[in-house]
């Protein structure tokens, strides 16, 4: 039995299990808690989009309190809603997304160097929920377009009449995730990896976040529910 609390204060994870399944439960609960906040935002957005494409300003007003709520959590670096192309009445691409210590609104993002409007629709955190219609966890990866940080991005599609109008999501710093997960991973000597075998955090000192493991060579592992994450003994 394991328990995770992702409250306003420091994150506490207490573990009484050293089984991989128990560790996978803890990891799942950490992400599920974030997805729960995103779920209530998703429902509000579905209702707003039901009356036709809204303007960016109206979406900003709707998303902002939810984003601020997400940002109160220490594990959260940024969060909000990212619109699909032409889903909004007045902006082809738009990020109602708040991030960082200053909790700044991203709005229309620009590609670094060229300054061109940024087309984020090909990024994994957007593309995968669009293709599968399901939640996704992307990373760890260096996000050089929005945060300039090493992050994990959790996203869920916002579907209106069978079409994805955007994704709701949250960025987590890998650093913070590692600190949060290490007490859980430690007793079991476990490692959390994504579906590509890339390490999010590990109790093994030789396995830094970002390292890729060969999943076919690993026989003992536990899936983190429906998330594209698993816990294993490397």
């Amino acid at each position: 039995m394991s328990m995770v609390q992702v409250g306003e204060g420091a994150v506490r994870l207490s573990v009484t299990s050293t089984s991989l399944e128990g560790v996978a439960d803890s990891v799942t609960i950490l992400f599920e808690e974030l997805f729960a906040v995103l779920e209530s935002l998703r429902e509000r957005l579905v209702a707003r989009f039901a009356d036709g494409p809204p303007a960016a300003a109206s979406v900003v007003r709707l998303v902002e309190p939810h984003a601020r709520e997400l940002l109160r959590r220490p594990v959260v670096l940024g969060g909000g809603f990212v619109a699909a192309r032409d889903a909004l009445a007045d902006r082809p691409l738009y990020l109602a997304w708040w991030q960082g210590e200053s909790q700044q609104l991203l709005g229309q993002s620009e590609a670094p160097v060229s300054g061109d409007p940024l087309d984020y629709t090909r990024r994994e955190w957007f593309r995968v929920p669009e293709r599968t219609g399901r939640r996704h966890v992307t990373g760890p990866y260096v996000d050089y377009v929005c945060t300039d940080e090493y992050v994990v991005t959790s996203t869920a599609p916002v579907l209106v009449a069978g079409r994805m109008v955007g994704v709701v999501g949250v960025d987590t710093l890998v650093e913070t995730l590692e600190e949060t997960l290490l007490p859980v991973l430690g007793p079991a000597g476990a490692t959390v990896v994504n579906d590509h075998g890339r390490v999010l955090a590990s109790a093994d000192h030789r396995l830094d976040a970002g390292t890729v493991l060969d999943l076919t060579a690993c026989s003992k592992w536990a899936q983190c529910a429906a998330l594209p994450l698993r816990v294993l003994l490397a």
Partner: protein, 248 residues
Amino acid sequence: VTRSLRHVSRARSAIFAPLGDQGRAVRVEQRLAEAIRSGLLADGERLPSEPELAAMLGVATVTAREALVSLRAQGLLTTTRGRGGGSFVCRPRHPDEALLGARLAAMSRVELRDRATVYRVILAGCAELAATYAEAPEAAELRDLLLDPDVDDVARWRHADAELYLSLAALTQSARMTREVVRLEADFGVLLRLPLTDPSFRASTGARHRALVEAVAAHEQHAARRAVHDQVDEALALLVERRAALRS
């Protein structure tokens, strides 16, 4: 030991060498221009007033003013008058060809090579680590950035080239490395992409982009490094030529 000491003392004496007022204005201008181009000074950021700036930099107000006039002429600053007015940073979107040409012409050949060396070593290192770490989905994202050889829009080639190198940096899994490369691209990468106006350079660039992406996908670190080296070598050779033409 003697040589390094001599080098150090030469570098130190350069720091403390007296500057004429004219030299100072150029130095102030270059320092601010570099900070604006590399994004250290954010787009839209307000600069301190002329007297404040002069006091901070330890130069006469007239010297600071002279530097600001020049930055305004280069489009790197805009100035508004009245309440809430002042000088605001104007980060160039698509750096103007003529301005880049002027920067290139003003650079010594030694400086050009010096900067290209830093760029080459860092980007080749990124290519090597990207080839170590990248997995199939990331290789597929890199392939998405490749342009069709018939594309003849120079801006698209410049964009694709910058995007490819930034993606390589991100694949090192290091946020610091990526931020460093963003800075390098804005500062020197834009110069290295000047010769993409040349169709034969676009063709060889396209071929090397492909070789680079396939090397990364196949975890061939050496081939990935090679592709970056060759790209920087050819770009530098063309830049040296272009610089000579601009100065003649």
